[in-house]
């Protein structure tokens, strides 16, 4: 097991080196200092800002510098757009708002869509199954943005106007558990609604596939009720693809709600990155994307390892 984990880790090192290389090259196509200061910047400012980030050093030195700061988790570089604030601080402050939307959304989406998928698979081929699947496909065909616009209008705006009581904020964020439902519940609901169509269809397909296997026939033959076969025998086996799917969505917890954060003014990582790109805040863009890709790879490795734990055949290939 350990050797497998080590192999996965080693295998992903060149991938990460490639990501950072590509990212740095892409960000240097337009001179970042020029882009930040605009066309009419005076040359002294340009030199100063370049020197402060070491942009005047050879590319390879900069490359290893960035790698060093990522691997030692030292993000003391200062943001260009926000004077006197380090990238590390921006990172720390934005993680919690991001997670306070994506984590509940993931839990809600998974439970609800697994339940719906079970219902759908239980009544497979009947009217309720077909209705649910049509609903899922139609739901998938509407743009994310439309959900957000209408969600905000009905949930935050119309509801407040009609009842005179403000259940959900139109936008904004305040920390603290007591403020959570007011600011975050609506984005969580919207985000779950969007993901529901995809997830339900996937989970249903998994269960339908599982229900065709021999052990189901055996269980039915020995006299187990349909309900027992579904919820005891099948659900357990369907858990493997379900867990894999949930694991693969884990890295998106960080950046996954970028649109929601931007629309609802929630200061999460997605919105910080979005603003940084708008303001050409080079150090922030570089480190945020590098960290994100790192987290993505780590959770991929974790998925692989978990998968190997469940299914020993994987380890040997």
């Amino acid at each position: 097991m350990w050797s497998y984990t080590a192999r996965r880790l080693l295998y992903n090192i060149p991938v990460y080196l490639g990501i950072v290389l590509l990212l740095m090259l892409a960000l240097r196509v337009n001179d970042p200092a020029n882009a930040f200061l605009g066309k009419n910047a005076n040359p002294e400012d340009l030199l100063l800002i370049k020197e402060r980030l070491g942009l005047d050093r050879p590319f390879l030195v900069q490359y290893f510098d960035l790698l060093k700061s990522v691997f030692s988790l030292d993000f003391g570089t200062y943001s260009w757009a926000n004077e006197g604030i380090t990238v590390g601080r921006m990172l720390r402050e934005s993680v919690v708002p991001s997670l306070s939307i994506t984590l509940p959304a993931l839990i809600l989406t998974s439970t609800v869509s697994i339940t719906i998928a079970l219902i759908s698979a239980f009544f497979r081929g009947r009217r309720i199954d077909r209705a649910l699947m049509v609903l899922a496909v139609v739901g998938m065909s509407v743009s994310f943005l439309v959900y957000i616009v209408f969600g905000q209008y009905f949930g935050a705006y119309l509801l407040t106007r009609e009842t005179g009581y403000s259940f959900f904020a139109i936008g904004g964020y305040e920390s603290g558990l007591a403020n959570w439902p007011y600011y975050c519940l609506l984005p969580v609901l919207i985000s779950s609604l969007v993901a529901m169509g995809y997830d339900t269809r996937f989970y249903r397909a998994v269960m339908v596939e599982e229900s065709g296997r021999d052990y189901i026939v055996t269980a039915t033959a020995k006299g187990a009720s349909k309900r027992k076969v579904m919820f005891v025998h099948m659900l357990k086996n369907a858990m493997i693809p379900i867990i894999t799917r949930i694991m693969t969505t884990l890295p998106f917890l960080i950046m996954g709600s970028l649109l929601l954060e931007v629309y609802f003014n929630i200061p999460g990582m997605g919105r910080v990155l979005y603003k940084a790109i708008q303001e050409q805040d080079f150090p922030v863009i570089q480190i945020f994307v590098a960290i994100f890709a790192g987290l993505f790879i780590l959770s991929n490795i974790l998925t692989d390892v978990l998968y190997a734990l469940v299914d020993p055949r994987v380890r040997l290939s």
Partner: protein
Amino acid sequence: MSGRLKQFFSQRGMRKLRQDKMAMGALFVIGCYLILALFVVAHLPSPEAVVMRVGPDNIPGVFGTQTAEKRLSDAEFRLEALQRAVRTNDPETSLAEFRMGDLRILAGTPKAVESRIEGGWKAFEAVAVYDDIEAEAVALELLENLESEVAALFSPPTGFTALASFLRLSLGTDRQGRSIALRAIYSTKVAVQIGMVAALISVLIGTLLGAAAGYFGGWVDHLVVWLYSIFSSIPWIVMLMVLASMFRGSRFDGGLIPVYAAFCMSFWISPCRVIRGEVMKLKELEYVQAASAIGFGHLRILLRHVIPNTAHLMFINFSLLFIGAIKAEVILSFLGLGVKDEPSWGVMINHAKAEVLNGFFWQIGAATAFMLVLVLAFNILSDALQDAFDPKHV
């Protein structure tokens, strides 16, 4: 080649697909959209018609009703437009050239028109004194009177123009008084264009790299897997933003090239992955070994014997990526990185954000409906393709 095509269309999966009524319906809908896009390419509606003001802002479509307040301000808007035309240095020509959508000014000397406009303003003032028009029957009557008087200033379009005018206003106007119906139709072209180009290029890149990786194995395989691991580790939305900032200030800024580039860079991964797996399976089959025993070169085996057998996967991926491109375009527009010179559904939905807060749903509704039907058709088609060709896929 035609024999090959015939063979492809008569194979089992294709027969299964043709019997699927839903899939055929979806194909029909997609065909309709393609024809609509061709009409736009032939300048029906033309790019000028799409940005032209056809009436007051945010008027609802055919069955929509308006508040009295909005009706009053619309009448005011029309009167003001006429007045501007009359008060120029050369009222004769400006009156003759006046257009509001398909409406022209009723023929007459500038003097006569001006006095009629005066009459219109009087009727306007009579209504404007009421604070709450809807509450009082007298005010409503006066408002109707004003509207008929304003309408009498214009010569209504006849014949074909009347039909065109009806179509133009059938879904109302946006915040700049432009026709929502025309903009939604025009956007079909942009959507089809983006979908086609992005999906086609991505599938091509993905197929070539994936097939090479699967067939040759070894360092080619390692290289391709390394490449797609890199690209898939950055979420596409972040990659799009970084790419867009790369193109900022270049001469491609605002056009479709950055959008294509961004989509292709993130979209080639999924066809590549799938086709690599399929080719790895295919190359172990007897017919490939036989071809190699006959002495065919690798390139020939790959291009003539292996890749054609992944055609179904290419179709499925094309269909899925088409959907992905259309939906991603909306998100790009929202982030301010998408299409800028032309209307698109994303641009429309993005513009409609502010209208929704005022309770005006025609623009977002029209764009969503147009998009929904196309994406739904592609979703149904992808499902049917998967069922017909790749039934074991989960």
